[in-house]
Symmetry: C2
Subunit: 302 residues, 2 copies
């Protein structure tokens, strides 16, 4: 319960990871996955998204997942909510925190949540107020902060301004997110140099994808700027379903191997996470891309 940590891992595999899986995953498999992850020492697990099943069919069982898991009092359970209706469902389901998701690119905002950035911030102002009133902590994602698949480069000034505005809504933390995995350490340094002038470092988390092999290098760069909260996905769940082997989120295992080697105390058991990943691999029906997990598998075979 009272683990000493100097770095915080936010596990997003059950939500950001599984929502990108083409194959439906059963509710029971999701619950078993979350319950395993809850026993690894992870302090936060994002378990689902209270979004319309029309948008994200994989998250249609959000209520059942939230109701079915065995709560570990040492773990914060979070869920994504896109609007007041989602928040209502999340409150009823008994999560301890919710996450809202804004974009740093106008085109991505329209394509992802069918709203301008400004309109989304207005909506999130209400969602945050209601969530706080309901006793929930609120986190924000700022997606496409390092690049947009439609617009390309995203100005750093916009990332800084939107991070500030999200914090002003009352969220405790903004996960500045490299949604498409284009960020490199040079860019991480540039963004964090600008951010730290305007925003307290402890309010910034980073969310990387390993699409171009930069995720652990980006974390290393961010650690030098004092960032201590990182999102990660067990096994590297979240790869693009139509590109076998293409990778999504930074793998929790790879992040742990990095921070363990640097002497940080995360409170998380690396091999327990790898066991959880190995179990969910069977359910998703393909090998997960975490390098650490692959190496562990290879050493078991060889």
């Amino acid at each position: 319960m009272s683990v000493k940590r100097d770095i915080t891992l936010v596990e997003v595999g059950p939500r950001d990871g599984l929502q990108n899986e083409a194959q439906p995953i059963s509710t029971a498999d999701k619950i078993a996955f979350i319950d395993r992850l809850s026993q690894t020492g992870l302090p936060v697990v994002e378990i689902t998204a209270f979004v319309s099943p029309k948008w994200v069919p994989q998250m249609a069982d959000a209520v059942e997942v939230a109701a079915g898991i065995t709560r570990n009092p040492g773990v914060r359970y979070s869920a994504l909510v896109p609007n007041l209706k989602g928040l209502e469902r999340a409150l009823a389901a008994g999560v301890t925190e919710v996450a809202i998701f804004a974009a740093a690119s106008e085109t991505f905002s329209h394509k992802n949540i069918n709203s301008s950035i400004e309109a989304s911030l207005e909506l999130y102002r209400e969602v945050t107020r209601e969530a706080l009133a309901g006793g929930l902590a609120v986190r924000a994602y700022l997606s496409t902060a390092f690049g947009c698949p439609f617009e390309g480069t995203v100005p750093i000034a916009r990332v800084v301004s939107l991070t500030k505005r999200l914090l002003e809504l009352g969220v405790f933390e903004v996960a500045v997110s490299d949604t498409i995995g284009v960020a490199h350490p040079g860019q991480v340094r540039a963004v964090l140099s600008a951010l730290r002038v305007e925003v307290p470092t402890e309010r910034v988390a980073l969310h990387f994808h390993d699409t171009r092999g930069m995720a652990t290098a980006n974390v290393l760069a961010a650690l030098d700027y004092g960032i201590r909260t990182f999102d990660a996905s067990a096994g590297g769940l979240g790869g693009c379903p139509y590109a076998p082997g293409a990778t999504g989120n930074l793998a929790t295992e790879d992040l742990l191997y990095l921070v363990n080697g640097l002497g940080y105390q995360s409170g998380v058991d690396l091999d327990a996470v790898a066991d959880a990943s190995t179990a969910i691999e069977l359910a998703v029906g393909h090998a997960l891309p975490s390098r650490y997990l692959m190496a562990r598998r290879a050493s078991t075979i060889g």
Copy 2:
């Protein structure tokens, strides 16, 4: 010809990469691969190993490969030589430099080259003298410098001492090598902190494998210590043949994405390397693990 570079990539795909492929690769495919790589701006390509085909069947055609390639005057062509006989063949084949390979672990040395570390250094003293006399530059690998599959931890003092002794033989550079991909940035910092006291930084290259997802992070850590020469393998060739998806060498593409983002001038065209990797993929018969290459493939499909 007179490219301005502030970082040097040593391409080891045709040797360290291909020698780990279970499937035989035809001599023509190897030659085409090297010729493509020679047109990408890479300053050094390690093309083959003059070792006994009993040890490494994949390198049995070393003489034919060296004779068959089209030499680009802007490229240094290197080959591995284990002994005087190998050197003789390399001299006859007209390479411009050779590489010797010592180990930092006694057990690995015995298993890999059937010799104690001390005996191998004695042998390499002769090989280096003869190579220099023959007008060849000599490079050294120091394998298992960050960990040994048999002995585990390798003392940093031994890595420093062996690096010094290899340089004293007359080699121009030692590639301090993480043969099994266990190194993390914390260890890279520790090793380089010790090395730089005893050895000029410009005589040290680093050779990483991405087995646990640390390769680009390790390079980032090493750049902060002034290291400017890194080995890499096109496409990440060099994966363990019995573990599909398990990765070997740091991919040249991923390294280039990193150093380009940091503003270094390597003189190498990233997409030209990716084209060479894509061509050799057909010959090796499986997808290569470079993250950048996967992302490029995915964006072509999607």
